[in-house]
Amino acid sequence: MTDVTNKNDNTGDVRLSGISKTYGGFTAVHPLDLTVPQGSFFALLGASGCGKTTTLRMIAGLEEPTSGTVHLGDQDVTRLPPYKRPVNTVFQSYALFPHLDIFENVAFGLRRRGIKSVKKQVEDMLELVQLGEQARKKPHQLSGGQQQRVAVARALINHPKVLLLDEPLGALDLKLRRQMQLELKRIQTEVGITFVHVTHDQEEAMTMADTVAVMNAGRVEQLGAPADLYENPKTTFVANFLGTSNLIEAEVDTKSGDDIVLKAGGGKLVLPQARCTAPTTTGGKVLVGVRPEKISLAHADDAGEIPEGRNRITGTIADASFIGVSTQYVIDSPVCPELAVYAQNVDRDARLVPGAEVVLHWAPAHTFGLDAAQDIDAGIQEEAV
């Protein structure tokens, strides 16, 4: 779809050109162009079955593409078997060799390439992942987090041009997962190798990666920096899959300067032209989006105190759940049912309880516009993993 950047040093670039994979009549990956620049931490994000793992396996050589080519730097590796590619993989379930101890697992790649004196390298690598003490244990004697670190060490010791990670943290519990995310990020910065990371966890992708490609049904929906994807989703799938979005159906009324004025229910909403990816002909439909944390809540009695120029919607609180740092409200509005609002618990207004009449307001700059021809609910179920 898009090139991320063009750098001069490109020996660790991964370049996919028109790569696709079909199984019988099913297309797992539609023809795809993707460039992962040298040294970047790149995440392929999507729900299960979206083609992200297949894409990764085609880079590794474990899956042969139906069409297209894979380049590593300037080398065409499309027809190379996995054991000849300068690429290593951290597998989803780690795939550690159960009959070998930790030392031999880590040394496996070096020994296969005929390197005789592996001791020093393996010990250093085990030190890097803090497993020096466990060298002579068998994989099944280690905890999930330790096994995961062995899998990373086993791949990294070969100094691959690209490290591929297939849901490497999927089997860990939440706390350990957060810890390992930071750990992996640290290792990546330290070794400077290109990381391609497959995950279904949007938080994981956003925390770790410099660039995220959101995949859906075998296609890349959108590609960009995490903050950019979050603030400027271009499709309803991305808007709903990355965090939560309120999507409101509206009709284009007039255009004034750089802004579009839209009619939603009885009220008017303002949307900056630059943040709208949909065609805007007068009378046409547009989906207006706003993130729940961008919205402020005011009790209907205080509606007069809301500054001019903000988008506003009236509604009734249907539900409020207190979760410590914030309170999550569900607001029913004639414009749109079930709007989500996250309010920081700084000064809590005791009147904001279910049943209260409220006004929602937010800065027009935080509004984005999407093509109304899409499924408004795309990407919602998949988020709840």
Binding site: A60, G61, L62, P81, P82, Y83, K84, V87, N88, T89, F91, S93, A95, L96, F97, P98, H99, F108, G109, R112, R113, H140, R154, A155, N158
Partner: protein, 307 residues
């Protein structure tokens, strides 16, 4: 298998009443039929045979326990050629079974796809007919004027095998080769099934991981697949070698007087010559010999914790 993970500690039972006595004895009661069976059909005959082996006397005057241990020595010195032959034939058949069975088990486990069940049935199918009938069928297959022997003659294979002492002249029947072929054929499923079971349990991702870590397919087999299938190799070879070493049917039907195995000697001592002490002593020697060989083998293959 010793790789079995430790059983989780039992949760403390909710204590309402002190545990009833019957519950405590249930496992033993359930074991009772099996133990009784083993006692009557295994332990008692063993003791009986052991006592027979140290008796002297004759059929007419009856036998008496005289602690005559030299029967063992006499039996061993007289029949050691048959012992050695048994080990040789059974060993050859085991190696052949492994060479034939491994590729097939590998194919079924990793490549057969939807044909897997069909091939498995074909492997087991011979069991649907009697052991004897199947062995007799080999008499026809290896018959002197049959197509197999003719083909082998034309290709001059028999020249090589008879030079090696495996066949005699231009015959296959009544030669060591025929006996080994029969043993191999009859025990092949006992090799394939355990091999298949242990191969099938190998996570295919381990192959991918090895491939990813610069191992060629042949290296992957040597360093990952084969070591992980060792439990199957060990149990397969044991299940083939042990019964093959004591077998007498193949040597009887496909061999000649020059291919007599220890099983044939024991059978004729018991049933024709009626020298019960010698027959019993031979049985015990065979049993101990196999026990020692198996123990050494398991030690050597370093899979005590895998079998």
């Amino acid at each position: 298998m010793a790789t079995v993970t430790e059983a989780p500690p039992l949760a403390p039972a909710p204590e309402k009443k002190p545990p009833r006595k019957r519950g405590r004895w249930t496992p033993y009661l359930l074991l009772l039929p099996g133990l009784a069976w083993l006692f009557v059909f295994f332990a008692l005959p063993m003791v009986y045979q052991a006592s027979t082996s140290i008796q002297t006397g004759s059929l007419e005057q009856g036998y008496e326990v005289t602690w005559h241990f030299s029967t063992y020595w006499d039996a061993l010195t007289e029949y050691y050629p048959q012992f050695l032959r048994s080990v040789l034939y059974a060993g050859s058949a085991t190696v052949l079974c492994l060479l034939l069975g491994y590729p097939l088990a590998y194919l079924i486990a990793f490549r057969a796809g939807r044909w897997r069940n069909l091939i498995m049935i074909l492997v087991i199918a011979p069991f649907f007919t009697s052991f004897l009938i199947r062995t007799l069928a080999w008499k026809t297959i290896l018959a002197d004027n049959g197509p197999v022997v003719e083909a082998l003659n034309t290709l001059h294979v028999l020249d090589v095998t008879s030079w090696l002492g495996m066949t005699v002249g231009d015959r296959v029947l009544a030669t060591p080769l025929a006996v080994v072929c029969g043993l191999t054929y009859n025990f092949l499923p006992f090799m394939i099934l355990p091999l298949y079971t242990s191969l099938e349990r190998i996570d295919p991702r381990l192959h991918e991981a090895a491939n990813d870590l610069y191992a060629k397919p042949s290296t992957t087999f040597r360093k990952v697949t084969f070591p992980l299938s060792m439990p199957g190799v060990v149990s397969g070879t044991l299940l083939t070698f042990i019964p093959a070493a004591g077998d007498y049917v193949n040597a009887d039907l496909l061999g000649s007087t020059d291919t007599r195995m220890i099983g044939n000697v024991i059978q004729s001592q018991f049933l024709r010559i009626l020298d019960y002490p010698t027959a019993a002593a031979l049985s015990f020697i065979l049993m101990f010999a196999i026990l020692i060989m198996v123990t050494l083998y398991i030690r050597k293959s370093g899979t005590e914790d895998l079998v």
